[in-house]
Amino acid sequence: MDFENQLFWTRQEIYITNIFLPIVIGFLVFCMGLLALFILSFSRQHYRLWRLGKKENRFDQVGKRLRTVLAVTFANSGIGKEVYPGAMHFLIFWGTLLIFLGKIIRVFSFPVGLTNPPQILFLYASFLSEFGGVLTIIGVGLAVIRRYIVKPSRLDNKPERTLIFVWGFLLLITGYFIKGYRMAAVGVPIPSDWFLWAPVSYLVSKFILILTSDPLNELLIWHRALLHAIPASLLLAYFVVSHSPLQHLFLSPINIFFRSLKPKSVLPPLPDLEEAETFGVKEISEFTWKQLLDLEACTACGRCQDVCPAYLSQKPLSPKKMTQNLKEHLWREGPVLLSTLPEKRDPPPIIGTTVSEDELWACTACMACEEVCPVSIEQIVRNMDLRRYLVLMETKFPSGLRLVFKNLMNSQNPWGMGRGLRAEWAKPLGAGILSKGAERGILFWVGCAGSFDNRNMDVAISLVSILKSTGVPSWILGTEEGCCGDPARRTGNEYLFQTLAQANIEVLHKYGVKQIFTMCPHCFHTLKNEYPQFGGEFQVFHYTQLLADLLSKGTLKLTKPINKVITYHDSCYLGRGNQIYSAPRRILDAIPGLKRVEMERHGNRSFCCGAGGGRMWMEENIGTRINHIRTLQAIETKAALVATACPYCLTMLEDGIKEKGQQETLSAFDLSELVEQSIEPSVKESG
């Protein structure tokens, strides 16, 4: 190293000793105080509020939970589904991490003698910080363009968000300025290779002015260092104490850690139905602690709003706004509750003050909001808990549900058809299907739609015909089958649901049922994921799984071509609820001549038909009809056929096609009907 370089590094070390070391020591002491403040603030502002909620066990499968937290935190896996915001977040996150990593290494390089002459670790650390700063500036730039120029409707620019951008940007710039001044004021030429390790600061050093003497320049660097260190320390303090959006740095990972590991939209049972005095959620402390954590973890990113069929059809529901409003409600009422003796507490109800009834009933429970939420907020169960209170405690529900509840109670089906008529559709198919007992093969759970709705009876007949052709023995419960209870449960009538579920489980146990396949994804979801809560443990399949399996084994052969273009509509409870996306597509792809095209929203982004969450039984008087939107999306593909594997979806799509006057261009079919059409008649007869 030549003399000038040696002088440069010696002077750098003097600056570090005289200026930066006292600041770093002060900062470390401040950080210890800040840590204590963080613990206190976390306890007072968050933990105490969560403890207001009811108990819920979320400590199972800790390893799995940790792995997901690490994947989401470091790979930004949830956020990356959208390219622009994903890239923006990735750059800010990794940029900031690199800055801190570089800074920590540089701080500890000094006492162990890595700084003069500079060792390779110190040089790399310097580069890491510089590079991290550039990444962060690009990320912040992208965020500013998005928030303040593009302005997507899902984002709202509150002052605290603007503040973070300004504050963070200033810290980055002042950071480069310190280093630039330190290089410029040293009084000897800057070593040329230093440009490689600190390129931005090196460039900054070329554009700054300095004072006339070394003591004055030292004072100048003191100024620069404090202009960076004081705002940085105060930003940390602000982050620790306030309700700033920056708190997502710890709230998001905590919420992801405690996320539900069950399939989506599995509702927990209400315990002690006979004994309990209240049901559902009336006021904020009746949520579980995890539901309260969900509220605080919401970053208001608006992804849920962007995919919500209720919001997109101009209903009064925005999942984001609902969560944000409930968060405000928690912050307002939580401290009041905590400062009042339990017997004197009189918290305001949520419905009517923070959430409107129209907002609540607009939800189709399609799970699209949960699918896109990067921090795993569980909206559906929360909405259903609020519905449970309205229905079971206040007897308040949309008028259409009154008759449905009565019919379910009296006739075990939503249409109020006589129970004795449940197996009428199957009589022409022969006695085999009606013979009962597990030894008869797999149980076909027909569901109310397949049993009573004329259009869906055709689907049930197709399914039986297909199974006959494959020689797979199946049977039905006939008049002993009752509604699975999904319409009651999704509309908050848990009492009715449990009555129906327990009756069905009793019948299934009576016949020793082990395996069931269903025609309806709602029955499938309920039997598979919710009946075990009441002792009903069965192997449950949706028929698409069964047919896909038969196809792969070669038992089912599809030979008759259907020369048409088709699009497939994913049912919410088959897709997002149970991750069945490929089986229906494999079946369609096995039909000769059929050309499958996808709608823009398909797979896990599929758009609800509008019938879920009990909406099938309610009037749709506000905004655009959801099934019209979905029908238009199907029409856009220019397909001649739209297939689905759900009776609700089939009804909604057929209605949509009729109401849009598109019967000539588009026809809706259940997937099983197309399969049946593709089986050679000779095979069907031989079966």
Binding site: P159, E160, L163, V166, W167, F169, L170, I173, T174, F177, A184, A185, G187, V188, P189, S205, K206, F207, I208, L209, I210, L211, T212, L220, L227, P231, L234, L235, Y238, V241, S242, H243, S244, P335
Partner: protein, 78 residues
Amino acid sequence: MMETSFRPIAILVELVLLMGIIYSLFAGGKLLLFDLGLDPKYSPFMKWVLRIMGLLALIFFVAHLITFYPRISPLSRF
């Protein structure tokens, strides 16, 4: 000569940075007070107090920078 013409621009950049820092500290302090329970009815009052304090800071910074801001380009020393 170069440093003389560059100085006003450098002062302006410096002023923007300083006012940005002042904005961050004041806005952060204000939001923090409301987060900690200060009644939102004081918001307009706070806004005016902070605006006046910001203006005073601006006047101070302008005077300070014009008087003390460096004049020498490091390039000219070598």
